[in-house]
């Protein structure tokens, strides 16, 4: 535990802040600390957490991805047509198709970044526009409602009827979120590839000299982010039961904010799955709390912005010692 606080200062602070916010909301409102509310919060945040654990791998490797949310929309559309082509499919085919399409789109980013030596923010802003433009052009902005039944049926994992007669339910996206989080946690924490990703984000030139395959790092980071985006897209359809071309646009910044709030460093080498979950949940809980407290929804973005600024300033302060390279000879 002491190591957790020392090595993950941002996550530790976030955990404390989250606890304070939760305690405050539990006392200040009578609806926050109810099973129904908490279950709904989790259901609604699951998609963003899946996006976040994909994105955090890119941030750890020193990149940034703006295009993943739009990529998820592209994946949704192509998956609908691909499933139609194979005659409806099932969850297995859904995951296979959405996951591979996501990886494919991620690899486009990785390829452009690596072979043309363009920084990731520029590449992904370009692909963000290209993906979205292409999607709108080809679909003419049409919504899709005619989806396979297996895809749009709510799957309830756990349910519990409260004394007030309401049902608290956890749905499929939560299970997928748990698996995605666990897989990402395992990748970045317990595999050699994960440690190479951290090293690459921390010091790319050092990583190259020590013999890490740079092209592979970019491909794995963006491929993973793409795969998670594809899966998040798949689960988002399950949640909203329709495919809308601009449903996810704007999500990239919400998720990016949550991941950065969760301690990932723009510039690489830092970030954790627990941070992603805490970051997404904190934002969701603040929004939920503001609703319950009857505060104007217009204040929401402002308050989230303040939280992000505070978090980034804090993590920057603790890294002021990073400028060691020049310390000796000012």
């Amino acid at each position: 535990m002491r190591n957790f606080f020392r090595n993950n200062p941002t996550e530790a602070i976030l955990l404390v802040v989250l606890a304070i916010v939760c305690v405050g909301l539990s006392i200040g409102t009578d609806q926050f600390l109810t099973l129904v509310n908490l279950a709904n919060l989790l259901n609604a945040s699951a998609i963003n957490i899946i996006f976040a654990v994909g994105l955090v791998v890119v941030l750890i490797a020193g990149g940034i991805d703006i295009s993943f949310a739009v990529a998820a929309s592209v994946v949704q559309y192509v998956t609908v047509y691909a499933l139609g082509y194979i005659g409806g499919g099932n969850w297995f085919w859904g995951f296979m198709i959405a996951g591979s399409l996501g990886i494919g789109l991620g690899l486009i980013n990785a390829f452009l970044i690596h072979y043309f030596r363009i920084i990731s923010i520029v590449v992904t802003i370009a692909t963000f526009n290209a993906f979205f433009g292409l999607l709108m052009f080809i679909t003419s902005g049409r919504y899709l409602y005619n989806l396979p039944d297996w895809w749009t049926t709510r799957i309830i994992l756990v349910e519990h009827q409260t004394t007030s007669g309401q049902w608290a339910e956890l749905t499929a996206p939560v299970a997928v979120m748990l698996i995605a989080s666990f897989a990402t946690w395992f990748l970045i924490r317990f595999t050699t590839t994960g440690r190479q990703l951290y090293a690459f984000g921390d010091n790319p030139e050092g990583a190259r000299r020590v013999g890490i395959n740079i092209a592979a790092m970019q491909a794995i980071a963006f491929g993973w982010a793409g795969m998670m985006a594809g899966i998040a897209g798949l689960m988002q359809v399950n949640f909203v039961q329709e495919v809308v071309p601009n449903a996810l646009i704007g999500r990239e910044l919400d998720v990016l904010a949550a991941v950065v709030l969760g301690g990932a460093r723009l510039g690489g080498g830092r970030g954790s799955v627990i941070g992603c979950i805490l970051g997404v949940m904190l934002i969701a809980i603040i929004q939920n709390g503001l609703n319950l407290l009857g505060i104007s929804p217009f204040a929401f973005k402002m308050i989230v912005g303040a939280f992000i600024l505070a978090a980034i300033s804090l993590s920057n302060m603790s890294f002021s010692s990073l400028s060691f390279a020049r310390k000796g000879r000012v």
């Binding site: 190591n3 090595n7 924490r189 317990f190 595999t191 050699t192 590839t193 994960g194 440690r195 190479q196 951290y198 090293a199 921390d202 010091n203 030139e205 050092g206 990583a207 000299r209 020590v210 013999g211 890490i212 395959n213 592979a216 460093r265 080498g269 830092r270 890294f319 010692s321 990073l322 060691f324 390279a325 310390k327 000796g328 000879r329 000012v330």
Partner: protein, 506 residues
């Protein structure tokens, strides 16, 4: 005494032996028929000035560059036709670069034993094995570091040790250390040198690249001297003196003329009284007169550059007075200093002194944009051309066109452009910080000619240099700085260079 050794190795199989290495880049010859040999367990020094080919030969031995045809390479008795970085590592050759190539956010253990994490096929990362390996290496080095601490929390010296540890994890039998002590304090240097001695006693050969001659002579048994891409010779360090080694490295003969003159009658331009900045320099008293060149020398970390920054308004001194032309000044920023007639040519010319991709002309006029405006407040191209032309002619810079980017110029000419840039501000005091770093030997003389000419025109010049001969031959007075204080002052006309060297390296 110090004759080049012919075949010092005798029967021992050398760790490395390269012969007839030539390397040209485009039309430039970086190495010209160089031979180099290191024995197992030997501490060998590769000495030479910047740009003499030291790093090129390291890069050839480690497979980063391929030598031109005709080179013979033999590593631990094995003749090789080509080296790649992978082969070089397999054979037990490792380089600790000056920038260390470590991972600041990762733990000490991971930094040392990162090798266990390599490979394209994902495996389970065995943190316990990794920690054990790292701990073994640190025990072998006889140092105690917290294995879990993130690297960025360590001091520079400790990071240096981590880098050595990493080389040892790979079972290195030959380690190159590129300027390992450049940013270490004296006691940290001692510790590192002890570790080097220990490695050597275990049979690991260490090749030291350093221009701090005191260390070189203390630690190594032999020294290979390169100058301008050519082998000067291989020498035993027994009986070698610093001045002789300097002479071999620079090719400067020591009947160089001392340029010092008596300027004590000239009006005072800069007077500094009791200047102190906590942790950087203390109680500095300094006078620089019109036309005078004052050299400040000493080891790295003596506080010389920090003093320069304070005089140029980049940092605020804690206490004391700066008096410029008789009037006390207090600079809020370097903009104030420039306006008061102070110019500063930085140590790190490439990153701080020039805007590299911009043209020569744009660089020269950068600090004086205000003076080349036309009556509409826009940049007047005729005024700009005039300013640029006059300085290029004055400093004899060899350029293609003023519109060429500065990257097209050689080190010496780039340094002249930096000078031109600051002279365009019409300064009264010019601070030169390590003016010849990265400038080849030939061009150095040219730069000092300019410095002397500027002094004769009445400019007061403060020259910071860690190359003692540079300060000795080109200053009117030499001040020795150590631990943030002035501890000695010498008049080159009545002092020998060895006296100053003796004091500085004591």
């Amino acid at each position: 005494m110090n004759q080049p050794l012919d075949n010092p190795s005798g029967q021992v199989v050398p760790a490395i032996r390269v012969r007839h290495v030539t390397k040209t880049f485009g039309g430039v010859t970086a190495l010209d028929d160089v031979s180099f040999e290191v024995l197992p367990g030997e501490v060998h020094c590769l000495a030479g000035e910047n740009g003499c080919g030291k790093s090129t030969i390291i890069k050839i031995i480690t497979g980063v560059y391929q030598p031109d045809a005709g080179a013979e390479i033999e590593i631990f008795g094995q003749k090789l036709s080509a080296i790649t970085p992978t082969i070089s590592r397999k054979l037990g050759i490792d380089v600790i670069w000056q920038d260390l190539a470590l991972f600041p956010l990762m733990s000490v253990a991971e930094n040392i034993a990162f090798e266990g994490m390599l490979g394209n096929v994902p495996r389970i990362a065995r943190h316990a094995t990794l920690r054990k390996k790292a701990a073994e290496v640190l025990t072998r080095l006889g140092v105690d570091l917290d294995l879990e601490a993130p690297l960025h929390t360590l001091s520079v010296a400790e990071r240096q040790i981590v880098a050595v540890g990493r080389a040892l994890v790979g079972d290195a039998r030959l380690v190159f250390m590129d300027e390992p002590t450049a940013s270490l304090t004296q006691s940290e240097t001692e510790k590192l040198l002890a570790i080097v001695a220990k490695l050597s006693s275990e049979g690991v050969a260490v090749v030291f690249v350093s221009h701090r001659l005191a260390e070189v002579l203390k630690i190594s048994s032999r020294v290979t001297v390169l100058r301008d891409g050519r082998l000067v010779g291989v020498y035993d360090t027994d009986g070698m003196t610093q001045s002789h080694l300097t002479e071999l490295m620079t090719g400067h003969t020591f009947d160089s003329v001392v340029a010092a003159q008596d300027r004590s009658k000239a009006p005072v331009v800069l007077q500094v009284k009791n200047l102190t900045r906590e942790g950087e320099f203390n109680n500095i008293d300094l006078t620089v007169r019109q036309g005078e060149v004052v050299g400040i020398t000493g080891l790295i970390g003596a506080g010389r550059t920090e003093l320069g920054h304070a005089l140029f308004g980049m940092t605020k001194p804690g206490s004391g007075e700066i008096i410029l032309n008789g009037a006390p000044v207090r600079f809020r920023s370097n903009r104030d200093a420039i306006n008061s007639g102070v110019a500063y040519v930085s140590e790190d010319r490439l990153t701080l002194g020039l805007v590299q991709p911009q043209s020569i002309a744009d660089n020269i006029v950068l600090p004086v944009l205000d003076s080349i405006l036309d009556r509409f407040g826009l940049i007047s191209s005729s005024k700009k051309d005039k300013t640029v032309r006059s300085w290029i002619d004055d400093l004899a810079v060899k350029i293609g066109e003023p519109t060429d980017p500065v990257t097209t110029l050689s080190g010496g000419n780039q340094q002249r452009i930096v000078l031109a840039k600051w002279l365009a501000t019409k300064p009264k005091l010019l601070i030169l910080d390590a003016p010849t770093v990265g400038v080849d030997v030939g061009a150095r003389a040219g730069i000092f000619e300019i410095v002397r000419k500027l002094a004769d025109q009445g400019l007061a010049i403060l020259m910071i240099s860690d190359e003692i001969p540079e300060a000795y031959f080109n200053s009117d007075r030499v001040i020795h700085m150590a631990g943030g204080e002035f501890i000695g002052e010498y008049d080159p006309r009545s002092t020998t260079i060895s006296e100053i060297e003796g004091a500085v390296f004591a």
